[in-house]
Symmetry: C2
Amino acid sequence: MSDPSEVMWNEVVFSLAKDIEKIVMPIFGKPEAGKDVGTNVSGDVTKYVDKIAEDKAVERLKALGINIVSEEVGFVDLGSEYTAVVDPIDGSYNFTAGIPIFAFSFALFRKKKPVYAALYEFATRNYYEAIPGEGAFMNGEPIRVRPLPHAKAAVSFYTRERGVGLIRRVKRVRVLGAIAVEMAYLARGTLQGVVDIRNYVRPTDVAAGTLLVREAGGKVVDEDGKDITVHLSAEEKMNLIAASDGELLRVILEEVNSDGS
Amino acid sequence: MSDPSEVMWNEVVFSLAKDIEKIVMPIFGKPEAGKDVGTNVSGDVTKYVDKIAEDKAVERLKALGINIVSEEVGFVDLGSEYTAVVDPIDGSYNFTAGIPIFAFSFALFRKKKPVYAALYEFATRNYYEAIPGEGAFMNGEPIRVRPLPHAKAAVSFYTRERGVGLIRRVKRVRVLGAIAVEMAYLARGTLQGVVDIRNYVRPTDVAAGTLLVREAGGKVVDEDGKDITVHLSAEEKMNLIAASDGELLRVILEEVNSDGS
């Protein structure tokens, strides 16, 4: 078993993403991808595509001797200092529906500190990475958030109704159905905000995205404006607000915390 | 010049879509794609990618001697009985932003009656077609809408705030940023509804999608529940509600026409 501190994580994770791509892409948009194959640790239905992708990820990561947090298996404790927080298919509804927005999402922690994050977007074959203190990258090139005045911003916005005044204060709204991918778009500057205030997202969904956005110069906070801490848990649910800059963040927090009057 | 009634429209349009793919895909997600190259008939900014895709479509369709309605050139009247209503890149913001949801959208009318519609989704390479009275197809295979009870439905929903109660009454909301593509997803059964009540969409955006949804068994109406007529205009703006079935349509109309109390 290798020493995790000496593993070339970029190579290992990229190769794992490509292996998952090989097993899942043949069933993209096909009914078998969405077949119900059980229930995960949170009590949600596990889809066939989630299962086969996670099996591959768990097999590979276990061989490295690190702990794993993933949606279907929960917490796999191998007693390591290192923990991988994985979403083998972020956007699995999109995947089963034939909507080409989904990705493999991976974040590695040493104790509780992030040390590497990556996201592989299957449809575009873009590979995003974040390294604490070194920055964020797409296909090896540095990326940065791109702040815009809020009236020109494009924002992904998940709500059950609260804060809908935000819709009028930004230029474009998107709801793409794969929050890790949307955080990567924010990190590369093609969205300015990602907001989910449904108490719905889990650490597995946003661990990689959070590091990507922060290393690209953006902010990731809760609805009180406090920096989010991503816990090593597959079950916790949270609200998340990510933005390219303070001005947009202020507008989002204002709308999210208004009572609609 | 060929007689439009004898043209093999499926072959001509598919070949045009593939030619547009060749010229636009090299600049997918690149800054040059979004460069401002003028103003269209509606006064909106024309992006470089819209311009090169439309130039190709107009050149090819003019050679067939038919009239053309398209976003940037407006109405090109060649005195034909036939008119093609075209959106060379539906979802051009997505295209420039590197979001893989955009398509070539084409609808052919004889006088005011639709005779053929097609949509080519570049990222997935799916080719959708509709032929009045014969049905809707994806890559040559028949497709149908897939009705679900509203509480299980996935709906694309564009609003400036009105009707947001709808969010709580369906299972999933999407805002993918390419309405023609979303209507094709409805036609193939992976979304159950597409709603845009911003008085924003134009005939060029929805001409092909409307025929696709109807030929796949779905409904396309205005906010009063009346069947929409797609006019041969590049400028008119409208509201549009498309749904897989009457039950979901009723719920959507209820929310859209409620005063929020």
